[in-house]
């Protein structure tokens, strides 16, 4: 069970784009066991036929009209970027 959990934790960390240390993986594996066992309470047969509810008021989401609005915030956005140059946000080189 423990090794199965560690495998799930490693796979999930990859999907979540998280890099966990060996200690963190160990702790997360223990937490997964407890939390997933806690989640099992929702496996009630009488609710399995119900339609899933997304919107808490059971409403549909209205769409607004597709109208273009001018919004030039590039200067302020760049001030929050970890690295920016010549009006662009920079990242490590991805093309050799």
């Amino acid at each position: 069970m423990k090794s199965a959990n560690l495998e799930i934790v490693a796979k999930t960390a990859t999907l979540a784009r998280l890099k966990l240390s060996a200690d963190e993986q160990e702790r997360m594996s223990e937490d997964f066991s407890k939390i997933l066992a806690f989640f099992d309470a929702i496996n009630r047969p009488e609710i399995s036929a119900l339609a899933p509810l997304g919107h808490p008021l059971n409403d549909t989401q209205p769409l607004r009209q597709d109208i273009a609005v001018e919004c030039d915030m590039s200067a302020s956005i760049q001030t929050n970027a970890p690295a920016a140059q010549d009006g662009f946000i920079t990242v490590p080189k991805v093309i050799e």
Partner: protein, 483 residues
């Protein structure tokens, strides 16, 4: 000055007993005196004094904006404030300075509010104790060894210690009501969609709702008048929402039916049950009728809530990738390394745990068993509430299973921490309004009673709590160190 409620301060400012600048200076002094409480992550003194001066000018011109004009307040540090750091109490956003105001911030600015700064929270609003803030824990003003609750712990502690007359909070599974109960103040989570979420850093979008935290229900009504309303910038904000919340405050409670769910009292600590029954009796004395009801699926609300909340969080927080804004790891070897290390170094332990859980319940092979089943449970819970509200007008119960716990008591047991949301999370799943008001004390620590209503029934909840508070002074109690 600081003992006064919002409604009293509004009257005293109108009578020119003191100016908004004098009031602001008084609260700034108190905030400085009580820094050890750690409620604030940023104090915006100059900004506040400028707003107070502008308020005094409006008053001298007979052009005040609202009942809140000139009254100090602060925002949970989850609301974007233009040109003022907004951190979500995370290393990830420690240096983030928004280029726009959240709609709530904008609306309160227009109402004449004096914004004193930003208040601490559990990182990204994920937590029930404020022990998860990147900037250190907030203390409970009633006992410094106890947590103030969370995630809006800074807001609750600041209002309880009378460092502010009111504050904003957000509530995804109880984050306004639980800290309000732990700190002895009044707080309301309105119906989903009542208040715009635009500019509030997202945790779980189908559950998040902002609300006010203050001394009394009357104050909450005055603040909601300014916070609520449809916002074209948030398509989930409702067009059905109320815009006047204080009209019904003085209505007679005769004939109001209060449901007491048996499941809320089964296994509840007897001291807590006694407090809630005493509250029920006072409502009965005010004319309300008490009815025992059954409320199904109470036991599955917390697991269903955590599955949905973590799933939505894993999606919402995928935006923090070290590229556009927020923390970036040093010397990344490639883009994937930049994503992974920025997220791993920028997020704290609880956030990472929830992102992992959320990613897992959405992943292939587990999606139907967890996420879809939790959404089916969500419908069952809504149906159960609808059935109850066909019989009664409101539901009364405890806000929390116990008073505030000690620091460290639940930190190593995530499931024990989750179960603190037993009485609060179901209302977020069903989008219902719920109000917590002080109900008395157990061993010197305050406890809260919770009123739950049907969708858009805020005026009734506020009316009930206001009537209770006309005959009871629990909400006027101030921790001895802060009088």
């Amino acid at each position: 000055m600081h003992q006064h409620s919002v409604s009293e301060l509004s009257r005293l400012l109108a009578e020119k007993q003191f100016s908004a600048v004098e009031l602001t200076q008084h609260y700034l002094k108190r905030i400085e005196q009580h820094q050890a409480l750690n409620a604030f992550v940023h104090v915006a003194s100059e900004h506040a004094l400028a707003q107070a001066q502008a308020s005094d000018k409006r008053r001298s011109d007979n052009a005040t904006s609202s009942a809140l004009d000139g009254i100090p307040m602060a925002h949970k540090d989850l609301f974007c404030t233009k040109d003022i750091a907004t951190t979500a109490c995370s290393k990830m956003l420690a240096n983030f300075i928004p280029s726009y105001d959240a709609t709530v911030v904008d609306k309160l600015n227009h109402a004449g509010a004096v914004m004193m700064g930003k208040l601490s929270l559990d990182e990204f609003a994920m937590g029930s104790s404020n022990e998860r803030s990147y900037f250190g824990s907030v203390h409970n003003p009633w006992h410094q060894d106890h947590v103030p609750g969370g995630s809006s712990g800074g807001s609750a502690a600041a209002v309880s210690a009378r460092l502010l007359p009111y504050a904003t909070g957000t509530d995804t599974g109880g984050s306004i009501r639980q800290p309000a109960a732990y700190c002895g103040i009044t707080g309301i989570k309105p119906t989903y969609g009542t208040i715009s979420r635009y500019g509030i850093i997202a945790f779980a979008s189908s559950l998040d709702q902002a609300g006010p935290m203050a001394q009394s229900a009357e104050d909450l009504a005055l603040i909601l008048n300014q916070m609520a309303g449809h916002d074209p910038k948030d398509s989930t904000s409702s067009r059905k929402t109320q815009t006047v919340f204080d009209k019904q405050l003085n209505d007679d409670l005769t004939g109001v039916k209060i449901g007491l769910p048996q499941s809320y009292f089964k296994g509840l600590d007897s001291a807590m049950a006694d407090q809630i029954h005493a509250v029920a009796k006072q409502y009965q004395a005010l004319g309300a009728t008490l009815v025992d009801i059954t409320l199904d699926y109470t036991d599955i609300a917390v697991p269903a809530y955590y599955i949905i909340a973590c799933a939505e969080a894993s999606s919402n927080l995928s935006r923090y990738d070290g590229v556009h804004y927020g923390y970036r790891a040093e010397n990344p070897v490639d883009l994937l390394d930049l994503y992974e290390r920025s997220r791993s170094e920028g997020f704290g332990e609880e956030v990472k745990r929830r992102l992992m859980i959320g990613t897992h319940v959405l992943s292939a092979g587990y999606y139907d068993a967890y996420y879809e089943q939790a959404r089916r449970a969500r419908r069952a819970i809504l149906d159960s509430f609808n059935h109850a509200f066909a019989q009664v007008d409101v539901i009364l119960g405890p806000t929390t299973p116990s008073p505030a716990f000690k620091f460290g008591d639940k930190l190593d047991d995530p499931v024990a921490m989750f179960l603190g949301d037993l009485y609060t999370a179901s209302t977020n799943l069903a989008g219902l309004p719920a109000l917590s008001h002080p109900a008395g004390f157990i061993n010197g620590l305050p406890v809260g009673a919770q009123l739950l209503g049907s969708h858009f029934s805020e005026p009734l909840l506020l009316n009930m709590a206001h009537q209770y508070q006309q005959h009871n002074d629990n909400h006027k109690q101030i921790p001895s160190a802060y009088r």
